[in-house]
């Protein structure tokens, strides 16, 4: 299960609270009635499906309910960053920064959650 950082709640929460919402930064055509069938297929069906770095939308459906964007590696499933909806595509952290983030963001363990709560 993934551990996802909601940029609105500013918390790392389990994947169960989130709903994946497809590729990010796809703009709906201004006048959708005017576009051709090819353009509609492109907008509606065709996706990058990247192997490696992907930008995608998630929704914190069982939390704040808001959509946000994430950069994730589809080979390791590791989140590189999350950022608020409406922001332009963000550059991903470079390798060293990223290693530091990974170090800091350890897996959610029983001791950290239930243990503390007790």
């Amino acid at each position: 299960m993934l551990l996802i950082h909601c940029p609105y709640c500013e918390e790392d929460r389990s994947e169960l609270e989130f709903r994946w919402a497809g590729e990010a930064h796809i703009a709906r055509p201004e006048n959708i009635a005017a576009i051709s069938d090819e353009e509609f297929a492109e907008f509606f069906f065709l996706r990058n499906n990247e192997k490696g770095l992907t930008y995608e939308r998630w929704r914190h459906i069982h939390g704040c309910g808001r959509f946000f964007n994430a950069a994730r590696d589809t080979i390791s499933d590791r989140f590189l960053m999350t950022y608020k909806a409406g922001l332009p595509k963000q550059p991903v952290p470079v390798a060293e920064e990223f290693a530091a983030i990974a170090e800091e963001k350890s897996v959610e363990t029983w001791e950290q959650t239930e243990g503390d709560a007790r």
Binding site: M1, L2, E15, L16, R19, W20, D37, E38, F40, A41, E42, F44, F45, L46, R47, N48, N49, E50, K51, T54, E56, R72, T74, I75, S76, D77
Partner: protein, 417 residues
């Protein structure tokens, strides 16, 4: 190649089994072939076999990044059925089921096709109406499928809990008796052996890194980790990696790659006579000939190439299995794994020509590609040989996402394929 038979077994028994030959060869690639198929899973190897057998094209290379049958062919739950709703789907899956029935004889390789029946459980009035609609559509189309009362279902699968107080009460079931299972590895090996026997080159551990195109945009061959290999026709049958391979030719395809998990239990004595699927609570289960319970879970919600998946997905499935079959509550699970499925927006496969001349595509089989293996391979071979789809696969084109003629099995099948 020596034929497998009871006499061969007797002969080898007399001489300490020293005469068995390798089932296929692993040649170095030539500079060029008539046809290259990318991906040596069941679909790709089968296409090479049918090209050689039915279309007389034997100068073929099947190129595989890993080892043959090591992708989704070796990672599925081996369920075979053809009780789909729409004619386009019934055409191709029934074509496949008919080929399954004679496949062991055709390949001279025991693929252990076992028509033990596939039962789909109905839990509510909506399920019941949908399944009866499926049954009627199937029977009108000449495909067997029948409705069972809960008592009849219980008689067929004695370990099923049909009590009124069950967590997931059962109000009936649909049964396709010709559905069943087969041995997944044997399918890949059987096709590989039969194709290699007809001169097909199977090139493993060779990754395709590019697709070379000529001045007119047509395919000239593929760049691989073993160098350039030429061919005027290239068929892509790369399952979860189809969009990665197609990107090399500059073609975008409407696919999402998602992990799909399965797991097996410790081996048990024979207890489970058929395949049972429950779409509503999302669980499917059968028992292999080794005695393991083979259980399929759902896909993860996000795109991934990780060949693994979230633990919550399989625990959800096991919850359902334990409720449906309380007798299995203390069975230990032995292994779990994931494969990468390529899902289309309408959950129906894509098989057809592409905007690139000479480049053919077979993908989008999503979570249900195993059952289609011989049928898909057979029709893909036709497509590559003739340059246009067979009439049974004519609706599966890539173009349908532009024209809007979708085959909406996503809604029709409810979930698991």
């Amino acid at each position: 190649m020596r034929k497998y038979s009871v006499f061969a077994i007797a002969r080898e028994a007399m001489r300490a089994h020293k005469g068995w030959e390798a089932q296929w060869t692993s040649p170095e690639p030539r500079g060029a072939y008539d046809v290259i198929i990318v991906g040596a899973g069941g679909h790709g190897l089968g296409a090479a076999y049918y090209l050689a057998k039915e279309h007389g094209i034997t100068n073929i290379a099947v190129i595989e990044k890993g080892w043959l049958g090591g992708g989704n062919t070796g990672r599925n739950t081996t369920i075979i059925r053809s009780n789909y709703l729409y004619e386009e789907s019934m055409d191709i899956y029934e074509h496949s089921l008919k080929l399954w029935e004679g496949l062991s004889q055709d390949l001279n390789y025991n693929v252990m096709y076992s028509p033990r029946g596939v039962m789909m459980l109905s839990h509510n009035i909506h399920d019941q109406q949908v399944f009866k609609r499926h049954i009627n559509a199937n029977r009108l189309y000449g495909i067997d499928n029948e409705w069972m009362t809960p008592e009849q279902a219980k008689a067929f699968v004695p370990v099923l809990d049909i009590s009124k107080t069950a967590r997931y009460p059962i109000n009936g079931a649909a049964l396709q008796r010709r559905g069943g299972t087969a041995r997944h590895d044997a399918v890949a090996w059987g096709f590989a052996r039969a194709a290699a026997d007809r001169g097909v080159h199977i090139i493993q551990n060779c990754e395709v890194t590019g697709i070379r195109r000529g001045p007119g945009g047509e395919v000239q061959g593929v760049e691989t980790s073993k160098g350039f290999i030429g061919a005027k026709k290239v068929g892509v049958s790369a399952a979860g990696h189809s969009s990665v391979v197609m990107e090399m030719a500059g073609v975008r395809v409407p696919l999402h790659s998602n992990p799909l998990q399965a797991l097996v239990s410790e081996p048990l004595k024979p207890i489970f006579p058929c395949v049972v699927m429950s779409n509503t609570v999302h669980a499917y289960i059968s028992q292999s000939d080794k005695g393991e319970l083979v259980i399929g879970a759902g896909t993860d919600q996000y795109n991934s190439y990780s060949q693994t998946g979230g633990l919550q997905i399989i625990t959800h499935t096991l919850d359902a299995i334990c409720e449906l079959f309380p007798i299995f509550r203390r069975v230990k699970m032995m292994r779990q794994w994931g494969g990468i499925t390529d899902n289309t927006p309408d959950r129906s496969p894509i098989q057809g020509i592409t905007p690139v001349p000479g480049l053919f595509l077979n993908c989008g089989w999503g979570t249900g590609g195993f059952k289609a293996t011989p049928g898909s391979a057979n029709l893909f071979a036709h497509l590559i040989a003739k340059g246009e789809p067979h009439k049974l696969a004519s609706g599966l084109t890539l173009d349908r996402f532009r024209t809007g003629r979708l085959i909406d099995e996503a809604a029709a099948a409810a979930v698991a394929h």
